[in-house]
Symmetry: C2
DNA sequence: TAGGCCATGTAACCGGTTACATGATTAG
DNA sequence: CTAATCATGTAACCGGTTACATGGCCTA
């Protein structure tokens, strides 16, 4: 999942500036499975425009800086649709929390407790953000994805809350440590 | 989650060569939340050795090429344990499948059907791999993580299987497309 | 005999992040 | 008066991947 695809996806919905693209990639319904920063947005926009996949127009605003609104060209839309129909890459999932959990014996009760409560609060806030998107949007496919997210995060939350004591009990338990994972 | 942390985590369990580290990062119990390639393992091992966090020794094998086994030094273990006790980064999750789903109207029935069945088979094979690790390992924390993975993947699977028809029904439905996500 | 596994390593490249530069306006 | 929001962009850097080089052994 690269900047190009994400930008094309956002522009497929509506015209937007680099700044708005960033906002949507961090706050909107896309935010829970992608994320990009300014440093990759602006150069990618320039490249996509040079390639003729998007077109930009400048807009003056009063009280605010000028901005450059980009929209998909016909070619851009065609190419994007085509790419969407190809088999997707597998999901990427990276979790430092799970690494810490897998080595819970090396942690302290405090460090583990903190990691767990942080995870729980973070999950809950993500879920309420998604509920917010859900309330504002009635596109069936966006709803499908949002419900998916809620369902999976709820499962995550349930497991962590129901099993946190087991994990906490392992803190500092050095005797359980060495073993061949082979 | 970088190469350094993962390598240290693997070596914390036991001495290993670069080649074994790669295997464990793609096949072992770590595989479902991390992944690295040779191109980052070998240079990182060299750097960690230069920094005195790990120590390598060469071993001759008959019928097989020599290999270099690395193990944690005292300093390496101390630094690793310390880093484990710091609050972890939030999980990273990237999914092209969800992007495709969010734009299901632009897909074809075939492209969506394929994406779904690929996801389902992939999830099932990951889950059976985890069940395999579970059968071979009795470290409580590793089991905790494995059960967590199974629980979350099952939730993913359930949602997809129970709701795939809704998604499929949207394929090619252009009329439902334009809308402001605002 | 072809392909896969064992095993280490390098070089080119790439896709991204972080930090910086700039500057007006608005809300607290 | 300070901080945040709006807005665009660049440069340095970094962490990784892909592909290549090398080569012996084993299995189908």
């Amino acid at each position: 999942m690269n900047a190009k695809t994400l930008i094309l996806a956002i522009l497929n919905f509506q015209e937007a500036s680099g700044y708005e693209i960033r906002k949507r990639s961090t706050e909107g319904p896309f935010s829970y499975f992608v994320d990009i920063s300014f440093g990759s947005i602006y150069p990618t926009l320039a490249k996509l425009e040079a390639d003729g996949l998007i077109a930009g127009r400048s807009e003056q605003q009063d009280g605010k800086p000028d901005r450059k609104l980009y929209s998909l060209t016909e070619r851009g839309r065609a190419e994007f649709v085509k790419s969407l129909r190809e088999p997707p890459q597998q999901d990427q999932y990276k979790s430092e929390f799970l690494l810490i959990s897998m080595l819970a014996e090396l942690g302290t009760r405090e460090s583990l407790e903190r990691a767990i409560t942080d995870r729980v609060t973070h999950l809950k806030s993500e879920m309420s953000a998604i509920r917010g998107h859900l309330a504002e949007c009635d596109r069936a496919s966006t709803r499908w994805v949002a419900e998916f997210g809620l369902h999976c995060m709820q499962a995550d939350l349930d497991y962590v809350e129901q099993n946190k004591d087991k994990l906490l009990a392992l803190a500092g338990n050095r005797t359980a440590l060495p073993d061949a994972v082979e």
